[in-house]
Amino acid sequence: MEMLQPQIAQTVPAIHIPAQPASASLAPSASSTAASQRQLWTHVGIIACLYAGAILLALRPQWVAGFSLHCAMLSIFHIKCPFCGMTRDFVAILHGKQPTLNPFTWPTVAVLFLGYPGTFFLAWRKRRLDIFYWPVVYKVGLACLVLMCFVNNFAH
């Protein structure tokens, strides 16, 4: 055993690991920190706007529903988009009535007002805000939109 050690030392080349400053390997760069801060505040702003919109629709629904705001897809192609009817359905929910115009109002409300803030909070705690642009999220979202459009036009 003692005889083999010098041979191993001769045959195995020394691995040279360049020294790196601790800040380069562990701490995030200033630009990535700024980008993640922007991302964080964008999500906070969206959630604040969602809840502010809900309060507006609960207290003053005529400010939104009173105007003649038409969906472009419905007006031009005479096809309902996946969200057609949801504003009026959401106003109905806020005033204690059942939504009748779009079958996906309840799931959309649950995703936007509970699922999204909850996911954002967990992702923020784990420093994984990139989950919102994972490819699988895009694919599932697109599949949901196609399904919602189909059901909103043909099965409802």
Binding site: I46, C49, L50, F67, S75
Partner: protein
């Protein structure tokens, strides 16, 4: 045209076009599908698809 009667419809239409154009430009900076997101933002009930875009957009590249 049903879509543009009354001044509120015009304002809504112009804001919708402006936001769709902004989405087109912004998606390009982030390496996302520009035309898809801009069309979705315009034809989806404004501003719901725009909100989805803001949630799912990638960081700026470069």
């Amino acid at each position: 045209m049903l879509y543009l009667h009354g001044w509120t419809s015009w304002v809504y239409f112009l804001v919708n076009v402006a936001v769709a154009y902004w989405v087109y430009q912004d998606a390009g900076k982030r390496g996302m599908h520009q035309i898809g997101w801009a069309l979705g933002s315009f034809f989806g009930c404004f501003p719901l698809v725009t909100i989805i875009y803001l949630i799912m957009r990638k960081p700026v590249q470069g």
